[in-house]
Amino acid sequence: MTNSGWIFMVCSVGSVVALISWCFLKVLSMPSATEHMHSPIDIDTKDLNT
């Protein structure tokens, strides 16, 4: 394994690991648009049944 081989391997594997980590961090930390939506049962209409 030459030095240039190490450089290519570390850069390739490192950049892919960095990309996938950033992507999943972003995906898991930000709620999707539909996750903001509430089903009718979640919505409090403030109506009283009395």
Partner: protein, 539 residues
């Protein structure tokens, strides 16, 4: 539409399903051989250029087109193309988006069953390469030919129930079980479980390979570091000059682009179908990038560190130079596991992982056709699954029967798994950029997006991608078309296989024609509704 619209249960689910569709045998078996033969580490420069400037932009275009079609209640490629292109011709061109997954499924499910068969072979010790290391290679090829029936046609006609036929039937049934369970209940749930299991299996094998050290002290050069070096050291393609000379060769750039292209499942008709089940405000830019990144993780970080180094450590340069999916996967690697301490366990884990990689891909090949049958004929899931099971079952039986030298399988892969994918991708890119409108497409992609498309996306998708794809098509016609049609004329099995493709095309075109009236009515209704609500998308 009268049918209840299926949807993904979670964003992670759709990302893993798309990634599962992309991750297949090519990530572990095709990529390492391709890289080692085209400059080693130097190959990664054109590879990443192709990923950034070609693969991911086309993926984004497919995600966007799929989501757009889904707004009209459509999930199949012909219907979505009809909505995007607004001409009947686009609907008929959408036949490629069905032909590709259906035909590929017919032979891919067979390869998938080989992976399962090999996993069982290692688990139960069925595979025996003998005691003489000099005979391992011959025995490995003999075992493979015997298992897949490559010595004769009509594997199941020799009077006994062949184990590979039993495994094929079981794997075929498992695929349809999950498809029958539906999009979120079947595909999404399975991929959400299978993808992490795949990663764990690959990491187990990776750990074993990286800790091999120097297994044979008599041959100190055959160690894991030199194995990694064989894969990653930058080198000239023909052994002459410096590694920079590899970058001057057009074929290296074409090989890198081809690898990215086929690895990301671009032009399969799958991403469009999967994205059509998204909601309007769902993100496609970050999701598309994440699915692509996941595929790259399996390819570069796992495939790139396991296969070639393992083959080199035990078999030297001769073993590591074995390229091609079947040769590397089913001839060379069983020998590697024979030499390896604990090889039976690691062989089982490796082929189980390949099986999971294959089944997450094969499931994605069935869903576009299921959606199409439901839309075109107005039938329910039970009927569409039965009809598709019958059609793909007959086609797959054809491939199983004509098993001698795997002629039928290789021809179908050469036809539908290669050139028609480029054709469909070219159609998609032209449709998105020049017919639907790239500005309109970008505006729609940004609806609900959590990151912005890069500034170069417009230029790439409008000019670079079509030019590249048309160049690939031109090169194929120039260099390979004569050989292609010549083999159809000269070989009966290949001629029959070509006939199978034609029959499926005609069958699908008839169904598209039948579905046309239904889609026209639905598109007109949905379009007027959508336009009244969202003038910005239709400007």
């Amino acid at each position: 539409m009268s049918r209840p619209k299926e949807q993904w249960a979670s964003r992670l689910g759709v990302i893993l399903a798309v990634a599962g569709s992309a991750v297949g045998l090519g990530n572990f078996l095709r990529f390492p051989g391709n890289a080692a033969a085209n400059g080693g580490g130097a190959f990664m420069i054109p590879y990443f250029c192709a990923l950034v400037f070609l693969g991911i932009p086309i993926c984004w275009a497919e995600w966007t087109m799929g989501k757009y079609g889904g707004m009209f209640g459509f999930n199949s490629c012909p219907a979505i193309f009809g909505v995007l292109g607004r001409r009947p011709i686009w609907r008929y061109l959408g036949v490629f988006g069905l032909l590709i997954p259906v035909i590929i499924y017919m032979y891919y499910v067979l390869i998938e069953s080989w992976c399962m068969g090999y996993a069982l072979s290692f688990a139960f010790g069925w595979i025996d390469l003998g005691d003489d290391p000099n005979q391992y290679a011959a025995k490995s090829v003999e075992y493979f030919n015997g298992f897949v029936g490559a010595n004769q046609d009509g594997l199941m006609l020799d009077g006994r129930l062949h184990i590979s036929v039993v495994v094929w039937l079981v794997v075929f049934a498992v695929n349809f079980y999950f498809i029958f369970r539906g999009l979120s209940g079947g595909i999404e749930k399975f991929c959400t479980c299978a993808m992490p299991v795949m990663a764990v299996c690959a990491l187990i094998v990776l750990f074993r390979v990286l800790t091999l050290g120097t297994p044979n002290p008599d041959q100190p050069k055959l160690n894991v570091l030199n194995g990694l070096g064989f894969m990653w050291n930058p080198k000239p393609v023909n052994g002459e000059g410096t590694w920079l000379s590899a970058l001057a060769q057009p074929k290296v750039w074409m090989a890198a682009a081809g690898q990215i292209f086929f690895s990301l499942s671009v032009g399969f008709g799958v991403i469009i179908n999967y994205a059509s089940y998204l909601r309007r405000r769902d993100d496609v830019v970050l999701s598309g990038l994440t699915a692509s990144a996941t595929n790259e993780f399996f390819e570069v970080c796992l495939g790139g560190l396991i296969t070639i180094p393992a083959a080199f450590v035990f078999l030297g340069v001769a073993g590591a130079e074995a390229t091609g999916t079947f040769s590397l996967g089913f001839h060379t690697l069983p020998i590697v596991f024979e030499y390896m301490q604990g090889g039976r366990f690691f062989g089982f884990v490796w082929f189980l992982m390949l099986f999971l990689a294959a089944i997450t891909s094969s499931l994605s090949m069935l869903q576009p056709a299921i959606a199409f049958l439901e839309e075109a004929l107005g039938i329910g899931r039970k009927a569409s699954v039965a009809l598709l099971g019958f059609v793909t079952g007959l086609g797959s039986l054809f491939v199983v029967f004509f098993s001698k030298d795997l002629k039928s399988l290789v021809f179908l892969d050469d036809t539908v798994g290669t050139i028609t994918i480029v054709i469909l991708a070219a159609i998609q890119v032209i449709l998105f950029s020049w017919v639907f409108g790239v500005d309109r497409g970008i505006a729609f992609a940004h609806e609900g997006a959590q990151i912005r498309l890069p500034f170069f996306f417009k230029f790439i998708i409008k000019y670079v991608s079509p030019l590249y794809l048309l160049t690939m098509l031109g090169m194929w016609f120039w260099k390979d078309s004569y050989r292609y049609f010549d083999q159809i004329r000269n070989d009966q099995v290949i001629a029959l296989s070509f006939g199978l493709v034609i029959i499926v095309v005609v069958f699908l075109l008839i169904l598209i024609h039948i579905g046309g009236r239904r889609w026209n009515a639905e598109a007109a209704g949905a379009s007027s509704l959508l336009e009244s609500r969202t003038p910005e998308v239709h400007r």
